[in-house]
């Protein structure tokens, strides 16, 4: 229970500090405070899809259906966090550029990502037979993740974009943030990651219970 209390206190402190300290990017203004939430959400989306690929590889190696369950659960969470990153990004876009959606390279990338992982669940829903579904979904998850680094890190930097590209580090890989902003951002990143791992742990345990009940009923 102590770690839950720690997450609760840490996240509450992050929320308070993200609003009472000066805006992280004064040239953008108050809207830049969303940076403390938007970037961690996008970060978790990448971690979740990477974990989905790892569990998919493990499924293909071991043919253990529990690994496929974990891959599906973590991809589902990744999709939810990806949608939240899209929504927070759209709010920022509305305030700074005047429109919720501009087909900016980063917006297009995240839209493609949503479609890719939406298709993952469409594929899972369309195939009958547990093993066939798991094998095809695992292969799809591996190929889908190959596009993630390109869509998130490469494409938005190659094509001219409205999106602030040097919010965290510049081209020389040096921090562009002040010390206070850096600490709040790092704490936010850690808190969001811990919350994600907690939710994933719950989702994984629920899938184990569901599978055990299904086996009992058969």
């Amino acid at each position: 229970m102590w770690w839950k209390t720690l997450i609760f206190v840490a996240m509450s402190v992050v929320i308070v500090f993200s609003f009472v300290t000066p805006a992280p990017q004064p040239q953008i203004g108050e809207a830049s405070r969303i940076f403390y939430y938007h970037i961690p959400l996008a970060w978790i989306c990448v971690i979740a899809f990477a974990m989905s690929m790892v569990y998919s590889i493990r499924y293909l190696k071991t043919r253990n259906i529990a690994e496929d369950d974990k891959a599906a659960e973590v991809a589902r969470l990744g999709l939810i966090f990806c949608a939240l990153a899209t929504v927070t990004g759209s709010i920022f876009a509305k305030v700074t550029w005047g429109s919720f959606w501009n087909w900016d390279p980063r917006e297009t990338s995240i839209f493609v990502l949503l479609l890719l992982y939406g298709a993952y669940f469409a594929l899972r829903g369309a195939i009958e037979g547990e093993e066939k579904k798991a094998a095809l979904a695992a292969a799809y998850a591996i190929f889908a993740f190959i596009t993630v680094p390109f869509l998130i890190f490469v494409m938005p930097r190659v094509v001219p974009s409205l999106h602030p590209n040097e919010s965290v580090v510049n081209k020389e890989m040096q921090f562009t943030m002040g010390v206070t902003v850096r600490w709040i951002f790092a704490a936010s990143l850690v808190c969001f990651t811990l919350i994600f791992l907690w939710i994933f742990n719950l989702a994984r345990r629920v899938s184990v219970i569901r599978r055990a009940q299904m086996e009992r009923e058969q």
Partner: protein, 37 residues
């Protein structure tokens, strides 16, 4: 600045709600796991 405080309170309320939901869900899952044993 007032707007910031309103947003902060709303965010805190959402966070407290999510935290309580997760704690309760955790307890429920634990109960179900014990039932299955």
């Amino acid at each position: 600045m007032d707007g910031n405080y309103v947003t902060m309170v709303v965010t805190l309320v959402v966070w407290v709600g999510l935290f309580i939901f997760l704690v309760r869900l955790d307890k429920k899952v634990k109960r179900l796991e014990e039932k299955l044993k």
